[in-house]
Subunit: 223 residues, 4 copies
């Protein structure tokens, strides 16, 4: 499982993080992770998993898996396929890719079957607690209205972080908790730890930065 | 654009066609395509596009694209990403991955913008005609109840093939028409051409075959 | 079928048009329709169909039907149920309730089977043409970005109206065409007719008006 | 809130339970509920709520609500609308009408805001527990593969009932638990209580019965 505390980057489908651009970001994180000893992981598009996994040693993850087994499922994301491509983990139920409740269960079960590490995303304290009932590796709470914005969840809504940590641990204290949305610098990362989280999940903070390396270094300094 | 008549294989998410298995099938098709001069293409999972595209000369396609532009779309299939990975075409609206009407339009528009060849799937004559209104490269008609079955659409429902050819050409005579569902051998392929189609789209007929090469050769013999 | 030219109101799920409020609007339209001889229809929530249908003589429609037959479909909108409740027509594929392509076909087929009049909504000229291939009673083109706004589609994008009329009639000249989005007054209605449409589909223009009767009268004056 | 133990009927969109047929079933339940003193409720299609609520005294419920507030949501089921129509409760997340996790949360929140009683459906022990985290009035566990079948969940999979009761109460012991799928007679009802449930949720057992009254009486005898 991911060593905590951890910084997890989700590159989404940004132009700045597709194909070779995803690989460049993965390499930068890999370098800084080694230099600083900070635990980091990168979630990339399905098309880019192999290329990244073959070229870096930090964990490469998928951004999503579908609640399916091998079979007739044209164009969906098979958990076995992302694993064979080189992913060692996956996001599940990101707020941009929400699943029906029964499928959250199925995806977590499938990830466990395949020994895929997994972060299940929630949008508030109540859904964080609800997800904890499935005993996933990680819950990541991200208020949708703050995603992609300029103010970190740790500043805008610290209670959703500490509240999720408490609610999750009340149901299952082995589940780790991350927070995300608007996270941009080492101060935000430090604050997340202070609020009881085990790290952060972020996207645009790195992907949209002009100087990605310096942002990654700054984030790492927060741990 | 795909040279017609053509045999298009959709490997879906079958275990027998994931990762290295997809590559083996692509290589077999590539070899037989060259030997026989038959036009062939293979649609593979997003995770497997690069590996296949780097190792074969027949067209490698995606099984699906989502109706999105680069941006915040965690875990969805970006048209630009499948293209950069090496796909030169894509299925759209497969019966196992149906799209809302406005998104069929968006996906076709996006494919054209990126110069991605595309086959849009329909389930009957009426939807074939409806899709033709968007002037895609190809329409592929596949009755859902025959998909994965033992009887070829060309035998079970020849009227849906000839009817789609007529209906599509009435709206736009430049749109090519394929047929699929239950297609398994050269006789089925020959019959599809006789019914006015420009080739076939198939999946389990090859993927689930014990001797895949011999099935591919037999299919090619039908053209 | 609806007498054309026609003014069709979709009350959506606005608070100002739920339950008794829906009935009040239906009565106002009924009164003005009779006074002015203008053809009008009102689409209401499923819960409100019976109450409205029992109290007015203008056509009461459903806002949506699902692509189902009687059976195990908990909480979905059965075409037979809206008909038995008193609806004589239905919207299909509204931009706030889009359907997958094959389901647009199924809903139109089900509406025809039950002799339910129907308006199928499109978002641009290409989808208008695509829908025409199913030969529905009506296509209503509404650019999503103008819905609920202050500028009428007839002013903001007249080409989408005339373009839809031409594209639809090229495929099937018996299909009637309405336009909608931002329609607020008689001038907008008159312009829609001038552009070749057979009437308008509107919502907030009436529902959100302080003086609903005077808006309805003004709209009627445009025909 | 529903008096427990309770028998809740979901009439779905069966032909035998649409419009006047729904009313006839509601009247039969109403009569037998009074005669036997058994707590019963009936969930009907949105179109049929008012007619049923005006004619019976047992609780009339909706089969579904959508996760919306009043506004621009054409054709969706507004919680306020089912309440104004006469429903005093609603099913949420039925296995034939599943919701994404965040929307399960929103629907429960909306039901609580409007003081609508509610049963949230789950498909296994893990999702029962997950739903309990939202503290709804009721969780109803129904294994999808047994729905509409001939063998009662209480016989086919008693562990899913007792397991859900335990798991739910571990998270929140105020949440009531129902079970459903294949429930057909008083013996099944009695067994559900024995397994720790507070009653049953059923559909075809009554709706598809030739002699509905005698089935309802038999079910009531199990409490």
């Amino acid at each position: 499982m991911l060593k905590i505390p951890v910084i997890v980057l989700n590159v989404k489908t940004y132009a700045e993080a597709t194909g070779n651009e995803a690989l460049e970001i993965a390499k930068a994180m890999d370098k800084i992770s080694k230099e600083t000893g900070t635990s980091m992981a990168i979630c990339v598009q399905a098309t880019d998993i192999t290329k990244c996994a073959e070229n870096v040693t930090i964990p490469v993850w998928a951004e999503h898996i579908d609640p399916i087994k091998p079979g007739s499922h044209t164009g969906w994301t098979l958990p076995e396929a992302v694993k064979e491509a080189g992913a060692i983990g996956t996001l599940i139920n990101h707020s941009e890719h929400r699943l029906i409740l029964a499928d959250v269960d199925t995806c977590i079960t499938r990830a466990k079957e395949l020994n895929l590490d997994h972060i299940v995303c929630s949008n508030n304290v109540a859904t964080s607690k609800s997800i904890a009932a499935f005993s996933p590796n990680f819950v990541a709470v991200e208020p949708p209205e703050l995603i992609g914005g300029d103010i970190s969840v740790t500043t805008a809504d610290p209670g959703i972080v500490s509240g999720s940590v408490n609610a999750v641990h009340k149901v299952d204290d082995k589940v780790k908790v991350l927070c995300g949305a608007g996270v941009k610098n080492g101060k935000d990362v430090a604050k997340s730890i202070e609020l009881g989280a085990d790290g952060v999940l972020l996207a645009s903070g790195i992907v949209k930065a002009k100087d990605k390396e310096s942002v990654i270094r700054d984030l790492a300094s927060g741990l």
